[in-house]
Amino acid sequence: MKEEQLAEELICLEDMAKIYDTGALKVLGLKRVNLTIRRGEFVAIMGQSGSGKSTLMNILGCLDRPSLGHYYLDGVDVAGMSSDELSLIRNKKIGFVFQSFNLISRMSALKNVELPMTYARISRKAREERAEELLKRVGLGKRIHHQPNELSGGQRQRVAIARALANNPPLLLADEPTGNLDTAASLEIMELFTKLHAEGTTVVLVTHEEEIAAYTRRIIRFRDGEIISDQPNEPHRPGIAAQVEKNTDFMEGEG
């Protein structure tokens, strides 16, 4: 019974706290967070600016380590790991999508998507094939050789999502993925996340917008580094999105 439960839990935070030591003054980024996210969940994290959302995402994404407490990812405590061990985990288990896309300029969409596979030591041919397939999946089959500056914001974010999926990670984290996009592009991205969730990927995203959070199945709200509410959500997609889905079918259309 216990083991089954463990296998289901992808993320488990136990009394996790993050303290930023800025010399003279210690800032409490997160205080005593207890949180469990199971495989296949679709979670939105909300809260006002400075409430600790990014801090949490960085820890979940193994970019940062908790100051106190434990973080079990896939049953493994990552709190005491070396930076190279964390790199390995980021490479294999986590796909990160950023607000500012964070594509490497001067590298084509294809090369950007290949990067995580390069670090996983996957052969060039296999890498290229999979990168192309992923770009097709996010609707950019005709843009694989474009540089980031030749793509729109929404297209860039789709490249970033394709890159996040490169090594087929169980966990997809997105910190305000639609923060730099207009409404139409935001909804397209959310459709994509919905589809990925439907295919079994665990998705955790940060957003300020209720409309975006509405796509998810669970909404966790933060204030001053603490969880103030954690509720299931009945996903409902706004009218525009339904329209987008109905008449363009953009994901298959281009690829």
């Binding site: 390995l88 490497i104 890159r163």
Partner: protein
């Protein structure tokens, strides 16, 4: 992965062409000068080796020490001394003479050419062969009989007589105050490189061999003996014993005699060139050092500029080692490119110098490989600090960098 890194490094270098070139400059100059100095040194060394081979590596001069204050006439040599040496060391000596030269005007009709007459024994041909193209070499009869016969260089023959085949022709010249008629019995040809000609002090005038018995008379004292040992003789040992023998013969301390051997001279020349190379090599090393520091500097700039890229790569799973190798590849490539340009520059300089000296100067492939390898090493060494700085960056801070 390596190929990937190389491609990335190339594109990084290409993006900042001017900056990359300026960064390479130190390496270009350093490697360029190393290549040219080493190659020019090499060439000079082979040229000198050739020159000494021309002179004869078994050769030595013996004379009374120039540093002595109490030199008496009896310290100089006579033909009797020469004969004694021949008797005692006959098995080891290939050739010996009184090293005699005389410069005099040769007259033929209205032609007048200044000649250097070298007094030789008939077997000089064994140690310093020349190519006889007309007539014959001097023979034992010429030397023993003190006949006024000469063997002339072909260019000199042309100068004096207007023909190459001057065998049988006679000319007049005045040696030691007596004007006589001399007969050409042979004409020879000797090809020298411009460098050899320069170093051997060939004059514009004519040159000819003449029996040494005409220049050194039975009761004359002469200054130096010229000896060629046989090829299979242990030179150090033989010349040592020869010196001791001469000391005893002349009733002098052996150390009062001065002996100059071709081998020693060549060694001196070699070490002089070596010293020169080392000095210029030192300057080149400093320029490589400065070049390396330039690379380190630009790599530090590059690491700072690309902080965000480093953050992205780390967030995607790049390990410390991956980032390190990426930047090391870039600095090594930058430096190696500089090295290659330096090689091109250096080779150009070397062939230019070679053309001036009239020899074909070559840049050894091993030197080229070494230079490229070394410049890459310089790049790796000086890229180490920037690369480790990049690799150690905290991913979150790097991602937040604007």
């Amino acid at each position: 992965m390596l190929i990937e890194n190389m491609k990335m490094a190339f594109s990084a270098i290409r993006i900042n062409k001017m900056r990359s070139f300026l960064t390479m400059l130190g390496i270009i100059i350093g490697i360029g000068s190393v290549i040219s100095i080493v190659s020019i040194g090499d060439t000079m060394r082979t040229m000198f080796a050739d020159l000494y081979k021309e002179v004869g590596l078994t050769q030595a001069y013996i004379s009374i020490g120039y540093w002595l204050d109490d030199v008496r006439q009896s310290d100089y040599f006579t033909l009797d001394d020469l004969e004694r040496v021949k008797e005692v060391f006959g098995d080891e000596i290939a050739y010996i003479d009184s090293q005699s030269y005389v410069s005099a005007d040769a007259l033929y009709g209205r032609a007048k050419v200044k000649f250097d007459f070298q007094g030789i024994d008939y077997n000089y041909q064994d140690v310093q062969p020349v190519n006889i193209i007309y007539g014959r070499y001097l023979n034992e009869g010429d030397v023993k009989g003190r006949r006024k016969n000469v063997v002339m260089d072909v260019k000199s023959a042309l100068q004096l007589f207007g023909v190459e085949n001057a065998v049988g022709r006679t000319f007049r010249t005045t040696i030691y105050g007596s004007t006589d008629e001399y007969t050409v019995v042979g004409v020879y040809k000797k090809d020298l490189s411009p460098f050899q000609a320069m170093m051997m002090g060939q004059s514009d005038g004519g040159s000819a061999f003449i029996p040494y018995t005409l220049l050194t008379w039975p009761n004359d004292y002469f200054y130096a003996m010229r000896v060629y040992a046989k090829d299979d003789v242990n030179l150090d040992d033989f010349f040592g014993r020869l010196k001791v023998f001469i000391g005893r013969l002349k009733m002098r301390d052996a150390e009062d005699y001065y002996m100059a051997t071709a081998v020693e001279e060549m060694g001196m020349m070699d070490s002089m060139m070596g010293g020169l190379s080392a000095a210029v090599g030192g300057i080149a090393a400093i320029s490589l050092l400065v070049g390396g520091i330039g690379i380190m500097n630009i790599m530090l700039v590059s690491v700072t500029e690309r902080t965000r890229e480093i953050g992205i790569r780390k967030s995607l799973g790049a390990r410390t080692k991956d980032i390190m190798i990426q930047f090391l590849t870039e600095s090594a490539l930058l430096s190696a490119c500089g090295g290659m340009i330096g090689i091109l520059l250096g080779s150009g300089l070397v062939s230019a110098v070679g053309a001036v000296l009239g020899v074909t100067a070559v840049v050894r492939p091993s030197v080229v490989l070494l230079a490229v390898g070394f410049s890459a090493l310089v790049g790796i060494f000086f890229g180490m600090y920037p690369a480790s700085k990049a690799a150690k960056k905290d991913p979150i801070e790097a991602l937040r960098y604007e």
